[in-house]
């Protein structure tokens, strides 16, 4: 699987992009946790053969969660989730679901160890790898999607194998097969390649900017309640209106 740190970074980026007015430390923590969650199936693989990148990387669980969420918030007369957690809770739930799929499963599916998308109904690890380019000699060249490829898969993607034939080594399970192997060397990857380091750095910088902006706005509104004087510079005025707009949204 792609390093868990990279999943968390993409989760943080999605949280910043999609949470809107619900953005704060707690909601970001929830969304990042949702992005990290799929990697826990590596622990399950100690007991279930080949559960890594399969059990929590299949589409069924998020699909069911999405249907349940849609039914509860859009179709039912009274939404339980909205009653309990408010609109803020509903928004966090949708963003967490998106983070699970896009940030949790996505990096594994797109060109590393692959994800067993249809497990357990159909057992095959898929990976999206290839290229897409325009050439003056050969026109459009596309190798991501291939129909009629040989292998165990039924989706038009490259298939790496089944849970029987393809084992993924992780920190929790260095051999990729059931059973504890206590003596084995374990590696916990933080970033595997340069671009992953770029993503992690960008996510860290972006969260720092957002929290700093939020903290400053929060302090100002507190000061504003205490005393109404001293709002001289343009900068302060701009930020307080920003803050007000964010609250009203």
């Amino acid at each position: 699987m792609a390093p868990t740190l990279v999943n968390a970074a993409f989760g943080a980026l999605l949280a910043a992009a999609l949470l809107g007015a619900a953005f704060d430390r707690r909601s970001v923590a929830v969304v990042v946790a949702a992005a990290v969650l799929p990697d826990l199936d590596a622990v399950a693989s100690l007991a279930v053969p080949g559960a890594t990148n399969a059990l929590l990387h299949a589409v069924w669980l998020p699909l069911a969660a999405g249907v349940a969420l849609y039914w509860d918030t859009e179709i039912r007369d009274v939404s339980r989730l909205r009653e309990r957690a408010g609109r803020r809770g509903v928004r966090i739930a949708w963003v967490a679901l998106a983070a699970f799929l896009v940030a949790g499963v996505g990096p594994d599916l797109f060109g590393s160890e692959g994800a067993n998308l249809l497990y357990p109904l159909h057992d095959a690890y898929y990976v999206v790898s290839g290229g897409f380019l325009l050439s003056t000699e050969e026109g459009i060249v596309q190798t991501f999607v291939s129909f009629g490829a040989s292998g165990p898969g039924i989706l038009p993607l490259e298939a790496l194998g089944t849970t029987d034939s393809y084992a993924i080594a992780t920190f929790a399970n260095p051999g990729g097969r059931p059973g504890l192997s206590l003596g084995a060397e374990r590696e916990f990857a933080l970033v595997r390649t340069g671009w992953q380091l770029v993503v992690v750095a960008a996510a860290a910088a972006l969260l720092a900017v957002r929290f700093r902006r939020g903290g400053r706005a929060g302090r100002e509104s507190q000061e504003g309640r205490g005393s109404q004087e001293g709002r001289g510079s343009q900068e302060d005025r701009k930020e307080s209106t920003e803050n007000a707009a964010e609250v009203s949204r």
Binding site: F10, L13, L14, A15, A16, A17, L18, G20, A21, G86, R87, R88, R91, A98, V102, G106, P107, L109, F110, G111, S112, V127, V128, G130, G131, F132, L133, L134, S135, T136, E138, F144, E185, R186, E187, F188, A189, L190, V191, R192, T193, G194, W195, L197, V198, V199, A201, A202, A205, L206, V209, R210, R213, Q234, E235, K238, E242, E246, V247, R249
Partner: protein, 226 residues
């Protein structure tokens, strides 16, 4: 170059997280323009050796731009920019700088011959390549920066992926598909990559996903926060 489409995808994701109240089509268009414009250094290749990945792809000019922007809008009594531009466009300019420094330069830094990070202060291409991991056998391992201490002299050498200079390095691009110093047989195949690896397609897809999700959210009725 890593395709502009990939830069744009990652830039959209970052911009959606940073623009806040300024998020709209015009602001996004401005951010995308900032992503595409540095690629124009491909065209300078015919008049300056090794211009691509040098003139528009360093961290010195963005740092200088950030310092100027900070000085003008925060420190000066009368800001020349604030008199001409609305506050919103100054905020967008900051987002543009962030996106250039995190979605454009670094993604090229990890690709082919890398980028000329410190140009014009120092003329050397750097390639960011390596991994970081924790191992039960070796502890903390990182291979991005290679630190070596010569046991005899005690001198230290640092290898951060440095390569050639503008004189020796040519990064192929659609404008100059081959190194101009080498003989070229016609016709030359020009390649315009869109996404040449799964992860690049993923960055494009994630940016588009963020854009689509924002549209869906904005269509929903205005929220009264509780």
């Amino acid at each position: 170059m890593v395709s502009s489409v990939v830069h744009a995808g990652f830039a959209l994701l970052l911009a959606a997280g940073l623009l806040g109240d300024h998020y709209d089509r015009r602001a996004l268009a401005a951010v995308l323009a900032i992503i595409v414009i540095p690629e124009a250094d491909s065209f300078l290749g015919s008049i300056m050796s090794g211009a691509h990945r040098t003139v528009g792809h360093n961290l010195v000019l963005p740092a200088a731009a950030a310092a100027l922007l900070y000085y003008d809008t925060r420190l000066r009594e009368r800001s020349a920019l604030r008199e001409r531009l609305a506050d919103r466009w100054i905020a967008v300019a900051w987002v543009g700088l962030f996106v250039h420094a995190f979605a454009h330069v670094p993604l090229d830094w990890v690709h082919l011959e890398g980028v000329n990070v410190f140009w014009p202060l120092r003329d050397r291409f750097y390639l960011l390549d390596g991994e970081i991991l924790l191992s039960t056998a070796d502890g903390f391992v990182q291979t991005f920066v290679d630190l070596q201490v010569d046991p005899e002299t005690g001198g230290r050498t640092v290898d951060a992926g440095g390569g050639g200079t503008t004189e020796t390095v040519h990064v192929n691009n659609p404008v100059q598909p081959r190194d101009p110093d080498e003989p070229i047989e016609e016709p030359v195949e020009r390649i315009f990559p869109v996404a040449n690896a799964g992860w690049r397609l993923y960055l494009v897809g994630t940016g588009l996903f963020a854009l689509a999700a924002r549209r869906l959210q904005d269509r929903a009725p205005p929220e009264d926060e509780s």
